[in-house]
């Protein structure tokens, strides 16, 4: 079966199908994280006492993680740009760096979580920690999902570059849109949970 509009644009939308599809998916993701941000606001405005993350969370580590994630967003878009310029070796380099950044983010998150657990701070300790672990945990799962997809596109999936380069470039663009969204969510999570 031949899937239509994987490389060329549909005449009515002006987009290849996967691009409209990923934006629809990201719209649903906005509502998923939006519901959690909304819950955060609801919990915070009604709490008589609200613990401040900066009093016990590791701000320097979280700042490094922010820098890592922003850097990974740049390497991701550079990997797509490399394919657009037909530079496959550069693509492999930038996509590889993106995956390494994502892994570094998760390793730092592991150390952060471990520290909280050692200090006796768990999701059921208080409402703040419940929403902190829920939001950062869900975000971490998204990072994990991104690593799986990006690793496929870096490894076995990259064979498509030889047979259908336009479709492969589109796949990388779609994975990139997801990855930038994950970065965008963290841009809001960082100040909300760590600094305010």
């Amino acid at each position: 079966m031949n899937i239509p509009y994987t490389s060329s644009a549909r005449p009515d939308t002006g987009l290849y199908n996967a691009k409209l599809g990923i934006w629809m998916f990201l719209a649903s993701e906005v509502m998923l994280f939006g519901a959690l941000f909304s819950t955060y606001v609801l919990l915070r405005v009604n709490a008589s006492v609200w613990p401040h993350g900066y009093e016990f969370l590791n701000i320097p580590l979280a700042t490094i993680n922010t820098v890592i994630l922003i850097s990974s967003s740049v390497t991701m878009v550079m990997s797509w740009a490399a394919l657009m310029m037909k530079q496959f070796t550069k693509y492999k380099l930038y996509m590889g760096l993106t995956i390494l950044c994502a892994l570094a983010f998760l390793v730092i998150k592991y150390f952060e979580y471990s520290h909280e657990f050692v200090e006796g701070r768990f999701p059921d300790t208080n409402t703040y920690l419940a929403i902190y672990f829920t939001m950062t945990g869900l975000h971490g799962l998204h990072i994990l999902g991104g690593i799986v997809v990006n690793a496929y596109l870096w490894g076995p999936g990259s064979k498509m570059w030889q047979t259908d380069p336009v479709r492969f470039t589109n796949r990388v663009e779609v994975a990139g849109l997801y990855w930038h969204f994950v970065d965008l969510v963290w841009i809001f999570l960082f100040p909300v949970l760590y600094l305010l």
């Binding site: 644009a9 939308t13 002006g14 987009l15 290849y16 691009k19 409209l20 934006w23 629809m24 719209a27 906005v30 509502m31 939006g34 519901a35 941000f37 909304s38 819950t39 606001v41 609801l42 405005v45 009604n46 900066y54 701000i59 700042t63 922010t66 820098v67 922003i70 850097s71 967003s73 740049v74 991701m76 878009v77 550079m78 740009a81 657009m84 310029m85 663009e173 990139g176 849109l177 930038h180 969204f181 970065d183 965008l184 841009i187 809001f188 960082f190 100040p191 909300v192 600094l195 305010l196």
Partner: protein
């Protein structure tokens, strides 16, 4: 961006690097401001303004929203409307309680 030429992509790459520098600078500003220990309302307002600028940069340049098709803009406009409702709901419930 489907029919972009190599020269256009090279120009875009320069923009990506500039956006990267701006995002790094804004991250430093976000953390620096948090050490000023402003009041809660001022701190939230400043942090959200900086985060919104950063988010807009990511969406505009890295996600190519500066140059997209109408179908995507319409999808996002609808999403933004529902997102605003989601965010306003808990605050309006709190205002109700304040009035009572």
């Amino acid at each position: 961006m489907e029919s972009a030429h190599v020269d256009d992509i090279k120009k875009s790459v320069r923009k990506y690097i500039m956006v990267f520098a701006a995002l790094m600078a804004l991250t430093v500003i976000t953390v620096a401001i948090s050490y000023l220990h402003l009041g809660v309302k001022a701190a939230i307002a400043v942090a959200m303004v900086v985060a919104t600028i950063k988010g807009t940069l990511v969406a505009t340049y890295f996600m190519h929203l500066i140059d997209e098709r109408k179908a995507i803009y319409w999808t996002l406009i609808l999403t933004v409307i529902f997102f605003i409702v989601l965010m306003v709901l808990p605050v309006s419930m709190h205002l109700d309680r304040l009035v009572q």
